[in-house]
Structure formats: C-alpha cells, structure tokens
C-alpha cells in the first residue's frame, strides 16, 4: 500500500498533552503582563487546536502530499494553465535568506538587491511584451485583470469620458474577464466567435460604439488559436475610443515570436505562474504584473521602482495613480523565481520555449485526431480543444475521459471549457514534455477511445486507482460541511436523531 488509507483530520488524531513544537519558557517581565490587561480584552472561549507530536504531524502532511498529482510527479496537460516544469534553481533563489528576511518597509539603501530584481524583471517583461511600464503588485491573473479594469476606468474618467460603461469579452473568454469588469460596475457584453473560433468581426463591429470602455482579449484565445485579425480588431476598438486589454494567460507560445504591445494592446497582465515557470502551489500564490502603454503610465498603482544615478529607488507616485492594489510590493517570492527563470532563458531561450510549446501541441493534436474530434481544424498554437460531442450515444462526457486518464497516471485536461465547444477537453502539453511522454499520453487516450466504444461504463465509473472515486459534489453543496466544527455538529445532530 503506497498511499496511506488513513483519511482522518489532524483534529481527529489529537491527544491531550502532545505538542509539535516547544517554545522558550523564560519570561523577561517580572510579572505576567496579561494580568494587567482588562479581562474583557482576553479570549474566553477555548482554542480547540489539535495536539500532535512533530513526527506525527510530518507523517500526516507527507501522506497528504502523496495523495496529489503534481507537475513533479505526473504529466499535467491542463489547458490554459501552462503546467510547465518548475525549475528547482528558482526555488533555491527564492529561499535565500537575503530575500526571505527582508522587511517590506526597509529603506532603499538596504534593499538594493531586491529593487534591482524588480527593476530588471520589469525591463525583461517590457522587452518580451512590447509594453512601456509594469506594476509588479498584482498577486494573480485575476488581480491583474481587476487592476487593468481600474486603469481603464481611471483613463476614461481622466478624459471626462463618463459614458464608457461597456466592456466587451469574447464568448470564449475566461470567467475572470467578465467578473473583473463587473467589479468596476462595467456592463459586460459578449462578442460571438466565428466558425474558426476567433472573434467574429461583424459581431464586434455591431457592439462597438462610443460607450465601449474596453475589449478584453486572450491571444492565442482559449481554443489555442491566434486571433489573425488582431490588427484589425485593435484598429476598430481604438477608432471608437476604446482600450484593448490583453489577458496574458496564453502568452507562452508568443515568447520571442510576437508581442502584445505591437498588436495594439494598451494594457496587459502576465501570469508569472504560467509563462515564467513559477509553481502553482495547489492554487497559488501566483503573480500577475500589469503592463501598459505610455498613455496609461500615470494611472499605474504606486510606487514603481526606478533606476537613478545612485541606485534603485521607489519613484514618487503620480497624483493620477489609481492607488495601491496590494498590502505591499507584490508576491516578491514568485517574482524572484520568475526573474531566475528569465535569466536562464535569455534571449535565445524565448523562441525555444514557444517553438516547443507549439510543436508539442500540434503533434498531440495530430496524433489524437484519429480517435477524437478536434473542435477546430488546422494548426493550433500551444493548446487545442477536443470535443466529445459524438460520444453522447455512449453517455460518456468530457469529464469522464478526464477521470479515466487519472488511472493511466495523467492529470486530466481542462474539461467543459471553453463553453463555446460542447463537451470540451482542452489540452496544453507545454514545452517541457518529451516526445516519449506525449506518446504515452496518446496511447492512454487511444485506449480510452476504444473503451468508449466497447465498455463506456468503465469510463463513466473511473477512476479506479486513486484514494477516492467521484466525490459527490452535489451532496457537498447541498449540505455544506466546511470545517471540523461543522463535522462535530453534524455528528452530534445525527446521534440526536438516532436517539
């Protein structure tokens, strides 16, 4: 048995008297200062934290970690998530005490090294994307989008252009796009995709008017296609006085090939946790620097790092700045990892990454074509979408194929997204995978295609080799049990009912 069957919570392993860490006994004050604190400021209710020994805690968490798929253990072809390999030298860099032990409010002269990294990272991003200035504050892609929408609002407001209350998003866009725009109270309007999966120019023109504040676009889009009309789209949006926002989720295949800044984008966010190889951490932390063209620089969150004769420093904020979007300067540890990656990559590495990402995706698509329906024919960029629509007769859904893949030791692709493709399986192999891995994946998919024909029930019931099988999410949502306390209460309730 490689994976522990023990599924108890730490709370359920607790035993009074055990402890995981010891703390200094010595007190410096002659009398306990808490005795002088008014009683009503002190905690009254007991704190029911688990009591466990260090060794038990380590075993508890290490066993949990083994119940995970991860990039370091499995191929993870999750579309739009760019699950590339996370280099270890990045981890080494971010863990140096010379960075981890820096306080965010230290003076400039004591933080020249980290300020240089922030400055140089911004310079690198400017070169790669063709933008003029970046803020490193946003903590994630969606946080970058929100910052972007604030910039859109500030820009139009500064021009007295108050009628611009509309933000356009393609119907294939990530959910964060409309959600970010809605936070600024923009009215979100969807633009249709054409038969090739790109923005329908006619539909775009129909929606474009003097009320449009911005068009948010992912390029390549979520179908893995480059928006070939991008220059025309930019012209149309700008002609009507709108701004163009670039969702950087799919920047990876453009490294060294083409730059959003040259395409006409005014604002962009970059997902350092995708394109720049920083680990996803089971959901975060990420980092979503936001870059802008010249006309939007004054509105960026302050402060920004600048290079002066005597060294690096925080620039004086512009009065037009939208203000701070984060407690301190950004997810610095993530930025150090991305900077290290950028340094290893270098100029020549950019093209190698995008080339391999594109080749791997097209190769997989070509190899899978005999067994599954490809949503859009023709070459793709870094990812592509399969449609399981034709498996309806067997009652097999895209999600089922994802589950069955887990039994073969592959993480599932993104399933049921983008919504414009029925029964979508979105596959992004990334550049770091070998041909051998891709071939094994193809073999697994081939077998699953065969099973769909011969034994669809097996696919519908999968997976069979993992610690759990098909957790009931309907039950979880109908009767939310979200903490140990909820569990205890539920149990007591059940006992009461039984009695």
């Amino acid at each position: 048995m490689l994976i522990s069957k023990d599924d108890r919570l730490s709370f359920e392993k607790s035993k009074p008297g055990r402890r995981g860490v010891t703390l200094p006994r010595e007190r410096f004050c002659s009398a306990d200062p808490l005795q002088t604190v008014p009683k009503h400021l002190l905690r009254q209710s007991p704190l029911l934290f688990p009591e466990m020994s260090e060794s038990d805690i380590i075993r508890h968490f290490i066993n949990l970690s083994r119940k995970n798929f991860s990039v370091d253990t499995h191929f993870y072809p999750l579309g739009s998530c760019t699950m590339k390999y996370n280099p270890k030298v990045n981890e080494w860099a971010a863990h140096q005490e010379k960075f981890t032990a820096l306080h965010p409010l230290q003076s400039e002269e004591t933080t020249q090294g980290i300020l240089e990294i922030l400055y140089e990272m911004e310079e690198g991003l400017k070169e790669i994307t063709g933008m003029d200035r970046f803020t490193m504050q946003p903590a994630a892609g969606a946080h970058g989008e929100l910052t972007g929408m604030m910039l859109v609002h500030a820009y139009h407001a500064s021009r007295g252009d108050k009628a611009r209350r509309k933000v356009l998003v393609p119907d294939s866009s990530h959910g964060t796009n409309p959600a970010s725009a809605a936070l600024l109270d923009f009215h979100v309007v969807e633009v249709a995709s054409d038969a090739h999966g790109c923005v329908d120019l006619k539909d775009l023109e129909r929606h474009l008017d003097e009320q449009v504040a911005c068009l948010m676009l992912t390029n390549p889009n979520t179908l893995g296609l480059f928006e070939k009309n991008i220059l025309e789209i930019a012209r149309l949006v700008h002609e009507k006085g709108g701004l163009l926002y670039y969702d950087g989720a799919n920047l990876n295949p453009l490294l060294g090939l083409a730059r959003p800044g040259d395409m006409g984008f005014d604002i962009i966010h970059v997902n350092l946790h995708k394109t720049f190889s920083t680990p996803h951490g089971g959901g975060g932390p990420g980092s979503g620097p936001v870059g802008v063209k010249k006309h939007l620089i004054p509105f960026l969150p302050a402060p920004l790092v600048e290079k002066a004769k005597e060294g690096y420093r925080w620039a004086k904020g512009d009065p037009r700045s939208i203000g701070r979007v984060k407690l301190f300067h950004g997810n610095i540890g993530v930025i150090i990892r991305a900077y290290t990656y950028l340094k290893v990559l270098g100029r020549e590495g950019l093209l190698k990454v995008s080339e391999a990402a594109i080749l791997n995706a097209n190769y997989l698509k070509e190899k899978l074509k005999p067994y599954f329906q490809v949503a859009i024919n023709g070459p793709c960029m870094h990812e592509f979408v399969l449609s399981l629509k034709s498996c309806g007769a067997q009652g097999v859904h895209a999600g089922d194929v994802g589950k069955r893949l887990l039994d073969f030791g592959f993480h599932a692709p993104t399933v049921h997204f983008p919504m414009v493709v029925p029964e979508a399986l979105m596959i992004e192999p990334t550049e770091t995978e070998s041909k051998e891995t891709l071939d094994l994946f193809v073999e697994a998919m081939k077998q699953i295609a065969h099973e769909i024909e011969t034994d669809p029930e097996n696919v519908r019931q999968a997976p069979f080799t993992l610690p759990v099988r098909r957790p009931n999410d309907v039950l979880a949502a109908r009767k939310p049990i979200l903490s140990y306390r909820d569990m205890v209460r539920e149990k007591a309730l059940a006992a009461e009912v039984a009695a």
């Binding site: 409010l105 936070l183 997810n331 891995t437 099988r469 903490s483």
Partner: protein, 445 residues
C-alpha cells in the same frame, strides 16, 4: 536550457507527423508585421552563473538577520518551525494546480479543509475560505461583501487601521457606486468612539476595525458590534491571528467577518509577499464569501472525500454575476499556515501569544526609562507599540543604523501629524540581550 526535452531529432519527427516543414507553417496566422520584434535580452545563463548572480544581488541587501530589526507595521518577524518549512516545501503540494480534479488532489483538499477548520476555530466564526491574496485585498473584498449584503453604499473604516489596508480599500471602491469614510483616533491611538458613533448612519453597510491596530494598541471594542448591528450594518474585524490564542476572537467581539493578514502564521517577510489573506464569515454570509471553499462529502463508494464546493458563487461558473473575480489564491501560504498552526497546537498558540506580549511589554518598560523616548506603559498591546522621540527621528534612525539596528517604522510617513514617532515591534525572535541592547542604544540617543 535544461528544461526542454525535445532533441533536434524529436523536432524533425514531430514536424513530419504534423505534416509541415517548419514551425513557420504552424504560425501563419501571426501577421508578418508583428514578427521579428527586436527583443533586447542578455544570453541565457547556466545554473552556476545564475546562482552567482542571485548571490551577488542578495549581498546588496541588508536583512533583518544582518541587523537587529524592530520593524513591524503589517509584516512581522517570527520563528518558523523547520517542520513547517519542510511541509510547505513538498513538491507534491508546491507543483500541483488548483484541486479541480478531487481524485487527484485529496492532499491539497484535505490540507485546505484543515486550514479552514483552524481558521474558524481561531476566529470563532463559521466559514473560512481557502485563502485570499493578502490582508489588504481580503479586507477590501470584505467591505464589498457587506455593501452587497446590506444593499447600502458606504463603508466606515477606523483611521487607526493599517494605512495600506485603507489605501487598498479606497482603490477597490473607486469606480464603483460605493464610498469609504474614515473615523479618527485619540491621543493614545485608540479609535475615537464619538467619531465612530456620529458617522454610523443608514447608508453604512460595513464598519472596519483592526486589533491590534496600526499603533499596536489592542482596541477596546466593547459595545461596538451592538451599535453596528442596531444600525443594520455589518462588522469587519482584522486581527493579528497570532494574537488570538490570548486575546478576544472576532466572534467574541461580535464581528460578522474576520479578514486580514495571515503572514504571522509561519510565513517569512519576503519583502512583502507572498502572504496570506484570511477571510472568515458568519454562517449567514456563507453564500457570499469570495474564493474557494473545500467541503466534506462522500465518494461513489461511500468513503470520506473532500472537494471544492459552492462553486456556483465563483467566476468560472457565474462570470459577470460572480461576487468576486478571484481565481488563483495563496493556497501554498494557507498550507504553510496550516502546518504552522498544527505544529503550535492548542498550547503553542497560547504560549506564542504570551511570549509576544512578554517581549513587547519588557521592551516598552525599558524604553520608558530612557530620557529621550516616551511610551504609554498602561495601554494593552500585543507585540508592537508607539514611541515618541524627543529628538528628530531621522537623527535617531541614522545613529542607530550605524550600530546595525532597524529601530522601527516611522509614523510620519503615514500620519503627517505624528512627527518623530515610530512603531517598535518585538516578537519571540528577540532575546533578552537583544532587547537590552536596543534599549541601551536608545538611552544613548
């Protein structure tokens, strides 16, 4: 580039299978005018070279380990157990994605569930999300939540709360139909009860307090939640989670939402991030909480299982009708905090609170005896307090810097009226000798 696996031979083989001659045949959709941008970047470095570079850059920093630091103000130096670092460094946690496939993510899901359980226990409230970006953004989204829930337009915030929290809040509300108003503090740094009461009107949806507040003072919130609730508003409390083993919990103060910064729970200062926004709400607000939630359920064979739940609140389902746009969060930081809290356990969480108080009270008493520095020795504090200098603070700072001290955070930067005042923080990381040395250095100023 050691991270790529394709050999020249592989590339040829892939191209043949795809049925094209070169990469160019695959990227014809990119307009020619966009190609060949001149990108100016240096050549890539080998691992020894990049390590030398990072080491060189690191040496340009003077850290809180190179000096004796008393900096706090929203980022705190604390002891982090080696076991916590090991756990958070596990690559199976580190390199996993969001647990959308529960069968392949029970590790992450159970860890999040335990984190949620610890946070509800610590704050006393009912539902914790899986993490937010940081304290400032969690607080801003908490404010939005109260406004939507009450259908009102204004949020009140104590001016004794962290200036960066308040600035982030203002940024978040600009461009929305909502406004933010502040109420002041008295000479001792406690929130001003009269100003608070006078601003509480029918437009107020939420009221924000911080305790310990920015000045390190434990706010006395007696009677506050009653006033807020009588007004039909909601109360948001941002507390230092490490203080809650000892001091009153947000639930005990009557708060509806606890939102703030979890960095003290075992995360290094790292020049400001990645940190951990915690976000815990009362049962009544469960369906409005932003971000991911791990829930308990059963699998197809009736076994205990965990999965993300109540996802209908979130952007990937609800799109423009979602209450928040958050997607990526700070999951690994929540895991680190979970490991930290589990290691400290029931006794440790209380003791760490006691020790922080002990160190800060001891130092405050010592500074009270100096000639040129003044402190209020009767105010309840946790691990930080305000010092008023009789000499220009710039002078003091310069002098102490040469003796390798980071004496504290200058208050005038945030509150122009608080000239020559600074915040001093002392946690369990300081020895008696450290504190004596610092007090001695101050007495020489």
């Amino acid at each position: 580039m050691p991270y790529l696996s394709l050999t020249d031979e592989d590339r040829g083989s892939l191209l043949r299978t795809i049925g094209v001659r070169s990469l160019e045949d695959l990227i014809k959709d990119i307009p020619a005018s966009l190609r060949n941008a001149r990108i100016s970047l240096p050549e890539g470095l080998s691992e020894p070279e990049v390590r030398a570079l990072i080491t060189r850059l690191g040496r340009k920093n003077t850290t809180t380990q190179d000096c004796l630091s008393f900096l706090g103000a929203g980022s705190y130096e604390h002891f982090i157990p080696a076991a916590a670092t090991e756990i958070a460094g596990r690559q199976e946690f580190l390199t996993a994605y969001t647990p959308y496939q529960p069968e392949a993510s029970q590790g992450t899901l159970q860890a999040i569930y335990e984190y949620q359980s610890l946070m509800t226990e610590l704050t006393g409230l009912d539902v914790s999300n899986a993490s937010h970006y940081d304290g400032a953004t969690a607080l801003a989204e908490a404010a939005l939540l109260t406004l939507r829930q009450t259908d009102r337009s204004k949020v009140l915030v104590a001016r004794s709360a962290h200036p960066h929290y308040r600035e982030t809040l203002r940024t978040y509300l600009t461009g929305t139909p909502y406004t933010v108003e502040e109420f002041g503090f008295d000479a001792n740094g406690n929130f001003d009860r009269n100003a608070f009461a006078s601003k509480l009107d029918a437009t107020v949806g939420g009221v924000i307090f911080q305790t310990p507040n920015f000045f390190g003072v434990m706010e006395d919130l007696e009677g506050v939640s009653e006033k807020i609730h009588a007004n039909g508003s909601l109360m948001i409390l941002t507390a230092d989670p490490l203080s809650l083993g000892v001091f009153k919990s947000p639930r005990e103060w009557g708060a509806d939402i606890a939102a703030g910064e979890g960095q003290p729970l075992g995360l290094s200062m790292e020049f400001g991030g990645p940190y951990l926004g915690y976000f815990v709400v009362s049962q009544a607000l469960m369906r409005r909480i932003p971000g991911r939630l791990a829930g308990l359920t059963e699998d197809a064979d009736g076994k205990r299982a965990f999965c993300l739940t109540l996802q209908a609140r979130e952007q990937h389902i609800r799109r423009e009708r979602a209450g928040s746009n958050i997607c990526s969060n700070q999951a690994l930081c929540a895991l680190a905090a979970c490991a930290y809290m589990t290691l400290l356990g029931k006794k440790g969480m209380r003791e760490i609170g006691e020790i922080n108080c002990d160190r800060a009270y001891y130092l405050r008493q010592k500074i009270a005896k100096t000639r040129n520095f003044q402190v209020n020795t009767t105010q309840p504090i946790f691990n930080e307090f305000r010092v008023i200098s009789k000499k220009p603070f710039a002078e003091v700072e310069l002098k102490l810097k040469t003796q390798r001290f980071f004496p504290g955070v200058r208050l005038e930067t945030f509150y122009p009226e608080l000239k020559d005042q600074f915040l001093v923080c002392a946690t369990e990381t300081k020895t008696k000798e450290d504190l004596d040395q610092f007090a001695e250095a101050l007495s020489q100023c």
